[in-house]
């Protein structure tokens, strides 16, 4: 009974230590990740729901395909991946530590025969003189050697960068550190969103899961503006924000400019410029109407979506307004309104009325000429809000990963032995990486040794 239990535990352990599992997991993670790049994730767009069959939709959502990176099976894969990483490292690390801390000081026959790099050098002086000269040589060229006497011979051992064998484990550790950072972030942080109308302030934001999160302070939007390139492409989205505590602006956080790529951080909470728009609540737009001959000009106020009928029976409906038309019409700038006008007895027509181009408004050639004077509407800025106390752990993990990969790929553990016997010495070399380069170094070392009289 005890043996079967042990062998079961043993086989579980072996399973999680297996490198076949590692390769299987890497390939599975790669293949399954594709699903989430092909299917929409999170909120499904209605067009997608309309074109997919209900059975498929049901199966996909049962399998968690629409939020697959947080689905139970993907998270399970990541957990097994972490376990595999930990087990592999636990299994191999003691060997590596032993290899580093207890190097082979005396080169036995088996190892001697397995080494590809060897050189024989004549030694003219006494055994001890040869030993000291060669020890000096190794100290100068490689590293300070350990000298061991064995069967009337001296074994000199020198090594370089033994610790570089740990590089790959640093990479493994770094992945776990990144996971820990991500878990900290998901437990103690949040991602949210907030719209702030110019001149107003907020004390809480809407988290992605729908709940309201209090900030613990107040953020006011002083102003929002957009600049455009001459081509009509947006150049800068700019919010001017002020942080307030107990209704008072905080020193250094007054009128802070926040643009894309330049967020505002306060007390671990960061605000990112994300979107903008025109606040519709209570906003009036001012339009003018007049006869073609220039008489009877009058102005009127109207809200978006409302209609007004003039004395002659013509009806105007304000469809939408923008404070800068450039993104839509690169040849124009400034505010504009899209209106639908039905002259008496005619079918309605839709056109655009500009604020800064009255001459174009006149060119329409209708009996009535319309103009747009602007609005009392305010802009709002849309800010992404994030608090992630785990992010520094993630960066620590990333740094570890880069350092670890560098060590694992570009540094090698080099070992050199010299066995000094009567009349001659034999030098052996070994490295764990980049054999070709080390072979050249070893030859150079042997050449130096030959020039030197020992």
């Amino acid at each position: 009974m005890a043996t079967t239990q042990r062998s079961f535990a043993q086989s579980v352990w072996d399973f999680f230590c297996s490198l076949k599992l590692t390769i299987f997991l890497l390939i599975s993670l790669a293949l399954t990740s594709i699903i989430g790049t092909v299917l929409p994730q999170g909120q499904l767009p209605p067009e997608y729901v309309a074109q997919i069959s209900p059975t498929k939709l049901q199966i996909y959502s049962k399998l968690g395909f629409f939020d697959m990176y947080h689905s139970w099976w993907f998270i399970t894969l990541l957990y097994i991946f972490s376990l595999n990483l930990i087990c592999c490292s636990i299994k191999r690390l003691p060997h590596v530590f032993k290899f580093i801390s207890e190097p082979v000081l005396v080169l036995g026959d088996t190892l001697r025969n397995s080494l590809a790099l060897k050189q024989e050098i004549p030694v003219s002086g006494s055994l001890t003189a040869g030993r000291d000269a060669l020890a000096d040589f190794l100290k100068r060229e490689v590293a300070s050697p350990v000298v061991t006497e064995h069967n009337g011979e001296y074994h000199l051992f020198a090594q370089k960068n033994a610790w570089s064998r740990l590089g790959v484990y640093v990479v493994h550790l770094s992945i776990l550190v990144i996971f820990v950072g991500a878990i900290i972030g998901s437990l103690f942080g949040y991602k949210g969103y907030v719209n702030i109308v110019e001149g107003s302030s907020v004390t809480s934001v809407e988290a992605r899961n729908g709940g309201m999160v209090p900030l613990g302070f107040e953020v006011r939007c002083e102003k929002f503006a957009v600049d455009f390139y001459p081509t009509g492409a947006p150049k800068e989205f700019r919010s001017i924000l002020t942080v307030l505590e107990n209704g008072q602006p905080v020193e250094g956080y007054k009128d802070v400019k926040v643009i894309v790529n330049h967020p505002l951080s306060y007390k671990g909470i960061t605000f990112y410029q994300s979107s903008y728009g025109q606040a519709t609540e209570g906003s009036e737009h001012y339009l003018t109407v007049g006869q073609r001959n220039g008489t009877g000009n009058e102005s009127f106020a109207i809200r978006e979506g409302e209609s007004v009928t003039f004395k002659d029976g013509t009806t105007l409906r304000l469809l939408e307004t923008v404070q800068d038309v450039r993104p839509f019409m690169p040849d124009f700038s400034g505010a504009a309104a899209r209106v639908e006008v039905a002259f008496k007895g005619k079918s309605p027509q839709t056109f655009i009325v500009f604020k800064d181009y009255p001459e174009i408004n006149v060119q329409r050639g209708d009996d009535l000429v319309f103009g747009y004077q602007g609005t009392n509407a305010r802009m709002y800025t849309g800010l992404q809000v994030a608090k992630d106390p785990g992010v520094w752990v993630v960066w620590l993990g990333c740094t570890l990963m880069v350092v670890g990969i560098f060590i694992a790929f570009f540094m090698s553990h080099k070992r050199v032995w010299i066995i000094v016997s009567k009349g001659h010495a034999r030098m052996y070399g070994n490295t764990n990486k980049n054999q070709a380069a080390f072979a050249m170094q070893f030859e150079a070392l042997a050449d130096k040794l030959k020039i030197q009289k020992i």
Partner: protein, 285 residues
Amino acid sequence: MTSSMLFNVTTLAYMASMVVLFAFLATKNKSVGLAGTLIAYIGFFVQTVAIGLRWKESYDMGVGHAPLSNLYESVVFFSWTIILIYMFIDFKYKYRIVGVFVVPFALLGMAWAQLGLSNNIEPLVPALQSNWLLYHVVTCFLGYAAFAVACGVSIMYLIKASHEANNSFAVSAGGIMSLFPPTRVLDDLNYRAIMIGFPLLTLGIITGAAWANYAWGTYWSWDPKETWSLIVWFVYAAFLHARFTRGWVGKRAAWLSIIGFAATIFCYLGVNLFLSGLHSYGGGN
């Protein structure tokens, strides 16, 4: 003189280089091989000047930014990095013939950019106005280029290996195959190119994450581009583990390298052409 003219010269140079390198394959004349490589290097030099000039032109237009902001500029930069990595391999390992399978990738990029893509210099949209753009794009593309070289070398490996298998009894004294480096060397070059590419891709993903965190407050949002870069990373990580611990060398390593590059190309282009996400290359399509 405009950068656009110089890019045309570059394209012609890469085409000439490819033709001469093919002639090298046919004639086995060493000086023809040298000429082919030199033409590629001249093309590289002209392209370097052209990229610098385009950078300057953007400042003259008042929208100054590094020429890495749309699909055209990224394809041009990709072919530049491919030749850069090829030069590195040529100088370090002296296998000129690898150019036959690498220069065509660079030519393909330049030809597509010059013939099929708009080369207008566009102002930088707000999302790209960051120094991270340079670090992120340069590391990613150097990584991609190393994978392209690894793929070229792997194709050579498979050709040579199948040739050797078919002619195991014949004495192949001459023939094009004698120009190919030994399979052992090709296998090693494949690994070395990936050894350059993998750390660069890792840095590219990390700089991308750092930038995303700085600009949007999330270092990872499973955007298709991010996910595909991770897929590529998984494939090459599998390559390395299979090689070191399970002795996957030769044919299997070559195939993994080719699959890895296919995933890389999908990550680079497929994601933009077929999927939607954050990396739209600023209206390059």
